[in-house]
Each structure stands twice: as structure tokens, then as C-alpha cells.
Amino acid sequence: MNIHTYEKAWLVAAMVLIVGFIATITYGAVGPGIAMIDDDAGSIDPNEISDHERFGETGVEHLGGNEYEVNVVAQAWAYSPSEIEVPAGSEVTFYVTSRDVTHSFTVVGTNVNTMVVPGQISEMTVQFDEPGEYGILCNEYCGEGHHTMEGLLTVVPEDEFDLTELSTDAPREVEVGNETTINATVSNGMQDGLETTATLEIGEQQYERDVTIDGEGSAELTFDVDTDALGEGEHDWTFTVDDHEESGTLSVVSETDGGDTNE
């Protein structure tokens, strides 16, 4: 075979180029530690997503320390949950699966990007160092409304992040003079304990409680409300724990107006 010297040199240069490319990619995997989506998370029956231990309840979960898990179900044409909030400085593992057709879970402007194939679970671990707001979109055609499929990922400063949830149970109407209570539950989704202050404001009155909740625990709070002091009328109340609020209205009515609706 008769190959010109220049062509031989080019052959060598081409091989150098190819090997250099492979070396760069390998460096990316070993140095910065970039991992590919793979088959670690296993398969799933899309018909049984709702009963699945992981995807039965979607959203952010705290694993302890700075590690979090986010479980996402993609379906035409939405993500559940559609808004995700994680703290800065965290290491977040996303688990994503599809209820119907093939989607993607793509965090815009980042290298966080995976196909979501029905029957499979995509797993990817990401470090979020800085606060920021990123769009989430589906980049695989998934039916006529494909272009409306989007979500939002917010990385909040570490000290603004918690997984606290409130729920309240309060009467709508009470007779003046009767005793009544507003019950509240504060649950802490973090693995770490929560020490904070819960506040109930109603009319001019204000009640404060210090609460301490274990990791993955919850606390029941009962506030006795003095209806005499409130007097007749509509009274707005607000229950606050850190940045979370629940509010409602209590009607205090005269004795003759109605029955005791407490409980």
C-alpha cells in the first residue's frame, strides 16, 4: 500500500486527536467526578407508581447532614412536584420516573439533564453550592402539550431552608364566653431536631410557645383562646412558625345566635 508521508502524518495526528478526546472524557469522570445516568436505580412498573415506596409521595426528603433526595414523577405535561426547593451547599439525589411516555428532566443552564423513560428510574446526584433559580423543562417530545411541560428548581440560602409543615384545626364559630382552642401541628421533615418559636395571633391577643421537635417528628400545640376578651365579631388569626403561616377566621357570636360549634 502506497501512502503519502503527509497522509501518514495526518493519520497519526487523527489518532492523537481521538485518544485525546477519550482522555478528556475520562478525566471528566475521574477528576471532577462526573457520573453518567446508569442502571443503578432499577426498573419500575409505571402502573404502580402511586404505591411505590419512593414515588408514592413525591418531593424533597432529608437524608441527614447536607444530603437530600428529590423524588419526581413526570407525566404529560407536568412534573410532580412542579416546584422544588433545596438548600445551597447540599448534595441532592434526584430520582425521576415517568407515568406515561418518554420525557426528560432537564435543569436549564446546568449540566443536570436526564431522559425519563417509562419503566426505568433515573438517578442523579448533584451538588448545589450557590443559591439560584433554575427552570426545569422536558426536552423529549411527549405529545401535543409537550412545550407546556416545565417546573422550577430553587436553591435557597442554607439558613432559609427547612422542611417544616404546619397544619391547624380551629373552630369557625364560637359563642362568646365559651372556652375554645386552636390546635396546630408542626412537623419537621429534617433529620435534625428543630428548635423554634410558634406564635398564634388572634385579634389583639398573642400567644407564644417554644417548641422542640425531633428529626422526622412533629409537635401538637393547643392554644386556649379567651373569647370574652375578643368580644363579638370576626377575628382573623395567624399561626406562624419561622417563615410558615397558617391563617383563618374565628367568629365569636352572642349566646342566643347559635349553638356551640366547638368541635
Binding site: N2, H4, Y6, A9, W10, A13, L17, G20, F21, T24, G28, G31, P32, G33, I34, A35, M36, I37, E91, T93, V107, G109, T110, N111, V112, N113, T114, M124, T125, V126, Q127, F128, D129, G132
Partner: protein, 67 residues
Amino acid sequence: MASATEQRETDQVHEIGHEEYDPIGTAILIGIYFLILVLLWLFMYFVEFLGNGPTVVGALLTVVGLA
């Protein structure tokens, strides 16, 4: 108008055989192409890609962190 293939006969001013032909111009062009490929590759990988914010990392290697 005469077609390209007919022009060839008239346009050819001399015949160059295999032994006497060195594609030096080709070597220069392909050398430039090689340089462009290398520079663009480095730019794309280390600036556009690694500089593109959060990236998927392996759980075992997370101590290394991202540049």
C-alpha cells in the same frame, strides 16, 4: 455552455503524476483544521461544559467537588 467535465480537457495545463505530487496545500489546510479542532474542543469541554454550573456527580466521588 460547456459542462465542467469538458472544461477539464481544455483547462489542464500539465499532467502531474503520483510520484511528483506533494499535497503541501492540503497538509497546511488540514493542519489548520487540526488546530481549530483542538482549541475548540478544549474551550467547549473546560469552559462551556465544566463551567456550566451544577453537574451530575457520582455519590462516591463527591468529596472532590467541582472546579
